[in-house]
């Protein structure tokens, strides 16, 4: 899976860069020439009022702009073209490439130097930000690997252990012991399946290749489907729903929004005691449909509200509760893909609340059937 993730990342980078390098370089030279042309046109007008030396400032500005955006060679070409255009059009004798006054030689050299210096500095700044990006990805990959080795190897070890113990000690184990081991085997396989599914889902969403399949959904159906999906994890909790009357339909990718709600509801079930109440509600507030999942659990330490949605962040990393550390970051990605907001808060009366909201859109026209 780690390979898969780095592969998708690399391939998405490559398709962005390698394919268009040639085109981009050509664009850069064309843009540089265009800038010189524009500066010349502007100077043509300005030359009615200004002395030629001052016109060089306009070319300087053009060179700086090109150097900031593009690499050294387009900037140098821009500087050179500026020198030639300046000399040809504005330095007496006009419309020749000759210049009588040596002070214009200084102007030309300064233009070339500025082009070189600014483009070098800009390139350095660009590569520095790229390095930060690479470092960030590196950090993410490391936490991914750390999380993978913990979240996948632990259940794997338990599975291999129980299975080999069952195979080698079949006749020495009592019936209840055997049953317990089989139960563990199944649970841990299930847990691995959750981790792998979340990882694949996150990778798929991160790769940016998921096109939203937006259709109109009644809020009621989305919440109902999510609760149905969570029937097993919710079996020991009390569940209550509270929906405002006449909520507008949502124009969303139903599968992804259901996933978001399922993650929130499963989280609530996982981190709260059996028998406590989980409330799922939906309301229309100031033009937004606001859905929330509230629980009566311990809540989370104040100050981590934002970090809860980070990849692999877990309030208690050694928690026995199985999880991939990806559930909430998948929620945030889905919310952002829809232009929605998601946030977490501790309820004043205790427990956590996760709130997801979307702008209500104008409703589809229904012809009479």
């Amino acid at each position: 899976v780690a390979n898969l993730i780095s592969l998708t990342r690399v391939s998405s980078n490559n398709s962005g860069e390698a394919g268009s390098t040639g085109i981009r370089t050509r664009h850069a030279y064309l843009a540089a020439l265009l800038v010189v042309g524009l500066c010349t046109a502007l100077n043509w007008v300005l030359s009615l009022w200004l002395a030629p030396t001052n016109l060089a400032m306009v070319y300087l500005l053009g060179v700086v702009i090109v150097a900031l955006r593009y690499d050294r060679w387009p900037s140098m070409m821009c500087a050179l073209a500026s020198v030639l255009a300046f000399d040809f059009f504005f330095v007496p004798p006009v419309l020749t490439l000759r210049f009588d006054d040596t002070q214009y030689l200084v102007t030309a050299v300064v233009l070339l130097l500025v082009g070189a210096v600014v483009s070098t500095l800009a390139a350095r700044a660009r590569s520095a930000s790229r390095t930060t990006l690479v470092a960030q990805e590196e950090r993410l990959r490391n936490s991914l690997l750390a999380s993978l080795s913990h979240d996948l190897r632990t259940p794997l070890a338990v599975i291999a252990g129980s299975a080999s113990s069952l195979r080698d000690n079949m006749d020495k184990l009592s019936d209840p012991e055997r049953e317990q081991m089989l139960e563990t085997l199944y649970d841990e396989a299930q847990h691995m399946s959750v981790v792998v599914t979340d990882l694949l889902e996150m990778t798929r969403l991160d790769a940016g290749r998921v096109a939203l399949n937006r259709q109109w959904y009644p809020v009621e159906e989305l919440i109902g489907a999510a609760l149905e999906r969570c029937r097993t994890p919710l079996s020991k909790h009390r569940v209550q729903t509270r929906l405002a009357a006449a909520l507008p339909m949502l124009h969303v990718d139903g599968v992804l929004i259901e996933k978001l709600l399922v993650n929130l509801i499963e989280n609530a079930a996982k981190y709260t005691a059996p028998g406590t109440l989980i409330t799922v509600s939906a309301d229309l507030v100031a033009g937004r449909v606001v859905m929330s999942v509230e629980d009566e659990g311990p809540g989370f330490p104040p100050g981590v509200e934002e970090r809860l949605f980070d990849k692999f962040f877990r309030v208690n990393p050694e928690s026995a509760a199985p999880g991939s550390g990806l559930g909430l970051s998948i929620c945030r990605t889905i919310a952002e893909m829809h232009g929605g907001r998601i946030e977490a808060r501790n309820r004043p009366q205790g427990g956590a609340e996760f709130i997801f909201s979307l702008l209500a859109e104008s409703q589809p026209v229904m012809e009479p059937p």
């Binding site: 009621e220 259901e258 059937p369």
Partner: protein, 232 residues
Amino acid sequence: MTSATPLVLIVEDEPKMRRVLRVTLESNGMRYAEAATAREAITKAESQRPDLILADLGLPDKDGIDVIRRTRRWSSVPIVVLSARSQESDKVEALDAGADDYVTKPFSTGELLARLRVALRHASQRSDAETSSVFEARDLRVELLQRRVTVRGADVHLTPIEYRLLTSLIKKAGQVVTHAELLREAWGPAKTDQPHYLRIYMAGLRRKLEVDPTQPVYLLTETGVGYRLIDQ
């Protein structure tokens, strides 16, 4: 055809998965035949006349969807897909090609067996031509001849479209029915690209049948695929 021990054709290229399925089927009173490729599946479906086909989609020679389409040309044998493809579009494609149900890997054997039994039961009802005139599941009762629907003992009045949707779901109770199929049955072919019509009418139906429409018991949503009416 409906002998006490139904014959299931396992179409699966992974030998270990075939072993799991063999053991599961055999220990639950079913016989099996096996096919590791699409070609073999198509041949065995004709020569062995199984009571049910349990088909994987990722086969080495051809896509499992082809097996479904080929089989549907001449047979109404129930086909249950068992696939690692979990995208809703894959499910819809298989169901619209003629599969009766869809189970995703990894699966629990309990769930798989339940789906197989539902599919077998539907097939036997179809072949016995004794379509029951009364549908009952928990507190829901539909008398199909009288067009009478009661829930928790009280009469429920449905609009013609709601009733058509309900009977379409009853025909495949326990199995998922795709949006396209429901739209076709309730409105005809013109509205098959308007799934929100369906959602609005399903919401209406739920308000009439369910105690709490946000926690449905009868009409379950398979988001992105369709709806499933419970069968018991």
